[in-house]
């Protein structure tokens, strides 16, 4: 629906947009993101010609917008800015109605539009229509800003960091609402932000820009899995470990496979010897069929054990166990909480698969972040 062909823009010696080529599909929520100065806001503003490109063409629905009257063009595109910019001398109703008025809609139509839009954001007409912007909170003002952009039903809505100046709670609820509105009304939204959280949450497609060029155009999941550039990776930052690696990880990814197990028939003194030789303070005890029974600790043996007896009697089941396919984060939390300092990983048939210790967990996480460790 919106196409950029070799668009260039310079300010003096600085290149802001460098032969930009981009396609934006109709009905999608597209987010432009990138570091400061990457050209995302400039790109946005060339769509409604608040900024004119030095060269290149921009097409909306196949029509070259540089050949149109900019004022008329802007009336067909919604525009929302970070500082909101509601007209303080006009009521909420008058602010929303402004573009329909400019387009000479009939009074009843305008009235209807204002009522419907206010309902859309749960700000009933009776309470709010006659208020002035200065009587509203920041979040309410920006909602009205969005409604003002939607009033004449433009197919495209441009938003320039609209929630940047709001507190996190308000920002959160407005993000929800905007996403809902976009889905409901089927608008094409082009949204600029520098907040990756916002982008991942809202976008159908993310366009990552840097130094006036497009680095990658992808859905949030794609971008998380295959960031095309180190700078994108760093932007994604914490999302990376959650998104790709941690999402699919299970307990067995973190465990140590070589585990010391003893059959329950083992005698006490033998166990103590074993523990002293291997320098551990407890042993995993298994049944004849290799299924997990419990653990014995050297302290318990010393306290209650009698020489020559089987250790089966001294088994405790204090140790925490998890199934090998259980969620890695869960296993991690259990590990931290574990009184013994380890978590036993069991197979589906209850045999011992491995052991998660703090060392084994740390090693596995290191590999997840930085790749295979040599040690």
């Amino acid at each position: 629906m919106i196409q950029f062909r070799s668009v260039c823009k310079r300010y003096g010696k600085k290149t802001i947009l460098d032969t930009l080529n981009l396609d934006i599909k109709a009905g999608e929520f597209v987010i432009l993101i990138g570091p400061s100065g990457c050209g995302k806001t400039t790109t946005l503003k060339t769509i409604n010609r608040l900024i004119e490109p030095d060269s290149g063409e921009i097409y909306i629905d196949g029509k070259d917008i540089t050949k149109m009257d900019p004022v008329k063009l802007r009336r067909t595109i919604g525009y929302v800015i970070q500082q909101i910019g509601l007209f303080p001398n006009m009521t909420v109703e008058q602010n929303i109605a402004i573009v329909p008025k400019l387009l000479n809609y009939k009074k009843e139509e305008i009235d209807d539009i204002v009522h419907r839009l206010l309902d859309l954001v749960n700000m009933p007409y009776e309470e709010n229509a006659k208020k002035y912007p200065s009587e509203l909170s920041g979040g309410q003002q920006q909602r009205i800003g969005v409604l003002r952009a939607l009033a004449a039903s433009p197919p495209i809505v441009l938003m320039d960091e609209p929630f940047g100046a709001l507190d996190p709670v308000t920002r959160d609820s407005l993000q929800e609402e905007v996403k809902k509105i976009q889905r409901k009304l089927g608008k094409t939204i082009v949204f600029v932000t520098h907040d990756m959280d916002e982008a991942i949450r809202l976008a159908d497609t993310i366009v990552f820009m840097n130094e006036g060029k497009v680095l990658q155009v992808a859905s949030p999941e794609e971008m998380l899995q295959n960031p095309a550039d180190p700078i994108i990776k760093s932007f994604l930052g914490k999302h990376m470990s959650n998104g790709v690696n941690a999402a699919g990880m299970v307990a067995s990814d973190f465990m140590r496979k070589k585990v010391l197990t003893v059959p329950k028939t083992k005698k006490t003194l033998e166990c103590i010897e074993l523990m002293s030789r291997r320098d551990v303070s407890s042993l995993i005890v298994i049944e004849e069929d290799d299924t997990y029974l419990g653990t014995v600790s050297v302290d318990k043996i010393k306290a209650q054990g009698k020489a020559g007896k089987e250790i089966a009697e001294l088994i405790t089941v204090e140790a925490i166990t998890v199934n090998r396919d259980s969620n890695a984060q869960e296993a991690f939390e259990l590990l931290i909480a574990s009184p013994t300092g380890y978590v036993i990983v069991l197979n589906d048939d209850n045999t011992v698969a491995g052991l998660i210790t703090k060392t084994s967990m740390a090693k596995a996480m290191g590999e997840a972040l930085w790749g295979e460790m040599t040690q």
Binding site: N48, L50, V71, K72, L73, R74, R75, T76, I77, G78, Y79, I81, Q83, I84, G85, L86, F87, P88, N89, M90, T91, I98, V99, L102, Y132, P133, S134, E135, G145, R148, A149, L158
Partner: protein, 213 residues
């Protein structure tokens, strides 16, 4: 003669002077507004020129009223027209400056939003900028009116009439009553005009600007 006898004798003169004075003020301030408001709008679009013009206008403001009246007297002769010409020149600066700053002080983000949603330059001017600059513009009008009422008292010097005429008669004949007959109405006129325009300034300020957090 007592005051009441004086008033009885000269009441027509006093009323005539009063109305002439008002006439001079209204016409001059009117001309001032007609010139200064569009000029102020123009300057707000051409800030470079604005600096020069406002400095020059500032210097003109320091020229004593007597002087401009005198110059107009020489150029145009005696009577009301030269007085109006001189007074109009004085009326321009406060309105010009206030229109200019008033428009410039309108929140730039509102203007950006207005452009972005597709308002033309003219629509932005009349629906956003002027309404928001209105308190400042009327403030300028108020200042201007008070100045002109004051300088118009000198108009009598060049034969234009007005309350200054009475004051001058009083000064040159050492007749206190004439002085009072001229000075007191002039003072009252100025104070009332100031209050009335102040009142209009208040009611014409768009509601949205007065309310709020």
């Amino acid at each position: 003669m007592t005051y009441s006898e004086f008033l009885a004798k000269y009441s027509t003169d006093i009323w005539r002077a009063f109305f002439t004075h008002i006439e001079l003020v209204l016409v001059s301030v009117g001309i001032g507004v007609i010139i200064a408001v569009p000029a102020g709008i123009f300057l707000s679009r051409h800030k470079g020129t604005a600096k020069y013009i406002l400095s020059i206008a500032g210097v003109i403001q320091t020229i004593p009223g007597l002087v401009l009246l005198g110059i107009m007297l020489i150029l145009m002769g005696i009577g009301k027209p030269p007085a109006i010409a001189a007074l109009s020149l004085y009326a321009i600066l406060p309105i010009l400056r206030n229109t200019y700053t008033g428009i410039l002080e309108v929140d730039g983000h509102c203007i950006e939003a207005a452009r972005g949603i597709g308002m033309s330059g003219g629509q932005i001017l009349f629906q956003v900028e002027l309404p928001l600059a209105m308190p400042a513009i009327i403030g300028g009008l108020r200042l201007s009116t008070v100045y002109i009422i004051s300088w118009a008292t000198l108009a009598g010097m060049i034969g234009a009439g007005g309350l200054g005429d009475l004051i001058w008669t009083g000064l040159s004949t050492y007749e206190t009553k004439f002085i009072v007959a001229g000075a007191v109405p002039a003072a009252v006129l100025a104070l009332v005009a100031n209050a009335v325009i102040g009142f209009f300034q208040h009611i014409l300020t768009p509601r949205g600007l007065k309310l709020g957090r």
